[in-house]
Assembly symmetry: C2
Homo-oligomer: 331 residues x 2
């Protein structure tokens, strides 16, 4: 098994402070690996980076169209949103429109990442609700599918028909039998695959067209929805949103916990998957920026890119303290 | 140069999700390395883990006694506190007692880590002030020394007499000429040394007694103050505070940003320094717990230890998702 390779470095003054190693694979639409770093066979949990795979049954079954989901709602079904008023309101309206309620969700509650909404809750002496969970859009999609097929309410149970449908789609598009699953932060099963398997899935998404079969058409719609509604996929200030805006709808991006990042590049017929061994998001964001610049689809001087790679670090008084850059030899 | 070695793993379900590598050294009071993992010669920034070194001039100069600093204030001078009411009030009282003000600090402001104080500020629509900075106790010590020697107000300037005194003390007790410095989050210079140098300094602190010279007596007082006032060194829920309480005053501990951790064990005449390559605090906390258990000074089943090593991870709904454990072969 190959080892992880150095990908990202944090320098302070003239000295190397911290280093990050990882694995990355680029696949084309035929599932062929066109470039790889580290160990393509490293088995990983994609975590939230595979939300567009988890949304395939919602779209290909016709459940999404049966209730008239909009592209913004499809983007939200693939989101790790930050619980801003925009996201909370959209999920609430979605469920209310289906005759469902917050209590039907099974994602749990956590304080929203969005500062304004967090402060509003604190001032109102309100706790967060399940709508604030970063995965509530995915769960709204889960509930929509589950209601469509008239399945039971415990939709995060690994034996629930929804999760079986997700596993089948996941294994087909990764081209691998999943070696197992873990329970994600939002309580849904998260199926494992290799970095190569995840990249293969992203390459397949990149190649999916409106003229394909039901699954391919679903993938095409989800990719377009994500790229066209980047504010619904994450939120203001976040990597996925800012970088998708910077690439003006040409690329769909998704981060996952523990430093996974994926990209779908339909114009290049390429998909990317990467995992930083140590789970550090600052490194996965810097590495995906590096790879997108390497492939010529992102301007390295765009503020959204600069913020994450070759980013000057400043302290509380605005003094320069260091810089985040790519490790020598990576790219 | 030796490589970092695997130290900590995060498992999800039955699969390895993320891994952390690092360097660790144990030194005795004579500066001899008694055990090492990874590269003892890795040059690091100790960050906040060297606050007891930065407090040496304050005590050995007589500045602390000239204004009657208490052991709790000495602990605060070595703290990365969480800006709770306890800490903010203590720093305010300290400076006010010296005829100084918040505006004399040069640490900058950031939102306090303490949840109750954070929420109080938000409800009051107040921004944080410099007292909330986790380093404000260290800076109160800096101001106390600077006032004592009648030096200028820009005490974080690397050429200020305070910083020159810190560098001299730092180089003596690490036994190394520092290869340079970086600017820390709080704007103070942070002098670099090797992991072995930092461990040597911790061994020297462990061996320091009341019967030694002025520097050794200062080290002895600072170690005792930290171990006896753990709530002033960090705060409720934090690793340094909870683990020092668990060891009932027998060991002084200090964390530093980018995953540095040190320990001073006077009864064993040993000091520990460790650095996780990727800067992850969850890993430095797990690794220091592992080393303290390994040396027989911490009960692995104490809740403060269990919270950080062999800790079952749970999601927002309380479901078990995984575990943090030591890498095979480390300890």
């Amino acid at each position: 098994m190959a080892n992880a390779v150095p990908m990202v470095e944090l320098w302070r003054g003239e000295l190397l402070e911290s280093t990050h190693q990882g694995h990355a694979v680029i696949c084309n639409g035929q599932g062929e690996i066109t470039a790889a770093w580290g160990d393509p066979g490293r088995v990983i949990f994609p975590r939230s980076s595979c939300k567009m795979l988890q949304a395939l049954p919602l779209v290909e079954s016709g459940a999404a169209d049966a209730v008239g989901l909009t592209p913004a709602q499809l983007a939200l079904s693939c989101a790790s949103h930050q619980g801003a008023a925009l996201h909370v309101g959209a999920v609430r309206d979605w469920l209310t429109g289906l005759g469902l309620a917050e209590s039907d969700l099974r994602c749990g509650s956590h304080e929203p990442y969005d500062r304004a909404e967090r402060d509003r809750l604190i001032r109102a002496e309100e706790g967060p609700c399940q709508y604030h969970n970063n995965c509530s859009g995915k769960h709204a999609g889960f509930l929509t599918y589950s209601r469509h097929i008239k399945a039971g309410p415990e939709y995060v149970d690994p034996d629930h028909p929804l999760q079986r449908a997700i596993r089948a789609a996941f294994e087909e598009v990764t081209g691998e039998t999943s070696p197992g699953f873990g329970i994600d932060g939002c309580s849904a099963p998260n199926f494992a695959t290799t970095v190569a398997g995840l990249a293969r899935a992203m390459g397949w998404f990149a190649a999916a067209r409106e003229t394909g079969d039901a699954r391919a058409r679903a993938a095409h719609r989800l990719t377009r929805a994500m790229a066209q509604f980047p504010d619904f996929v994450a939120g203001e200030g976040r990597a996925c949103t800012e970088l998708m805006r910077a690439m003006e709808g040409r690329v769909a991006l998704k981060t996952g916990a523990e430093a996974v990042f994926v990209a779908i590049l339909p114009e290049q017929d390429l998909g990317i998957a990467l995992k930083i061994e140590d789970g550090s998001t600052r490194a996965s964001e810097a590495a995906i920026v590096g790879l997108l610049v390497h492939l010529g689809v992102l301007d390295p001087d765009h503020p959204a890119a600069r913020k994450r790679l070759n980013a000057v670090q400043r302290n509380w008084r605005g003094m320069e303290t260091g810089i985040v850059k790519l490790a020598p030899g990576f790219l």
